[in-house]
């Protein structure tokens, strides 16, 4: 069975500080990977997607970057956090081309102060 693990569970960071969030998928080779952001009480907005190691596409510009250093790992980062980065970050995967069902991780709650 496939499992998706996100870390950390929660972060409290200062404005201007760096950030790195991670996501690992086990049990599925070459998954399509996604980062979504959710404001408190809001909907989910896709940030990035990746179909293969080393390739990441940005969907929206939010002063964030993403990388896929390994087939099963997806990293979200920024060098300088903004207040607007606060929210819930969700990593997700999908099976293969044409399969749009997303399987989400448990998320990381980020508070920027």
């Amino acid at each position: 069975a496939q499992t998706i693990h996100q870390w950390p569970v929660a972060e409290i960071k200062a404005v201007g500080s760096p950030l790195s969030l991670g996501c690992t998928i086990k049990g599925k080779s070459s998954p399509n990977l996604y980062w979504y952001w959710q404001a408190t009480g809001g909907t989910l907005q896709q940030l990035f997607y990746s179909i293969t190691v080393g390739q990441v596409e940005s969907v929206v510009q939010l002063n964030l970057s993403a990388s896929r250093p390994k087939d099963d790992q997806f990293i979200l980062s920024t060098e300088k956090l903004l207040l607007s980065h606060s929210g819930f970050y969700l990593c997700a995967w999908s099976l293969f081309w044409g399969q749009n069902t997303l399987y989400f991780g448990a998320g990381t709650r980020l508070s920027v102060l």
Partner: protein, 114 residues
């Protein structure tokens, strides 16, 4: 935006009641997903309905899709306290190729009380 006038709605019902949540979308889609998100967790797919299906059932869940009006609904029969969650509908608005973008509506917070 893919979605019509839709903010996070809040519905509160009592256990045993039936409830229906609606969403409408602007761009043509061949499938509507319904996800459920429990507090502090990631969303999980609960039912998916395709354009060649007018209705889909799964246990106490029933989804409908009307492509002519570009709307979908999710009904829960005899709601239970454990149905308390936020429910999102989502459509495929990917730009083609390999981006499988699901665009989520703003969701409905359903609270079921004893």
């Amino acid at each position: 935006s893919q979605w019509g006038e839709e903010n996070l709605q809040a519905l509160s019902i009592q256990e045993g009641e039936d409830v229906t949540m609606n969403c409408s979308y602007k761009t043509y889609t061949t499938v509507v997903h319904w996800y459920r998100q429990d507090s502090g967790r990631g969303p999980a797919l609960i039912i998916l309905i395709r354009s060649n299906e007018r209705e889909k059932r799964s246990g106490r869940l029933r989804a409908t899709l009307d492509t002519s009006s570009q709307s979908s609904s999710l009904s829960i029969t005899a709601a239970q306290c454990e149905d308390t969650a936020v429910y999102f509908c989502a459509t495929d608005t990917g730009s083609g190729g390999s981006n499988y973008k699901l665009t989520f509506g703003k969701g409905t917070l359903l609270t079921v009380t004893p």
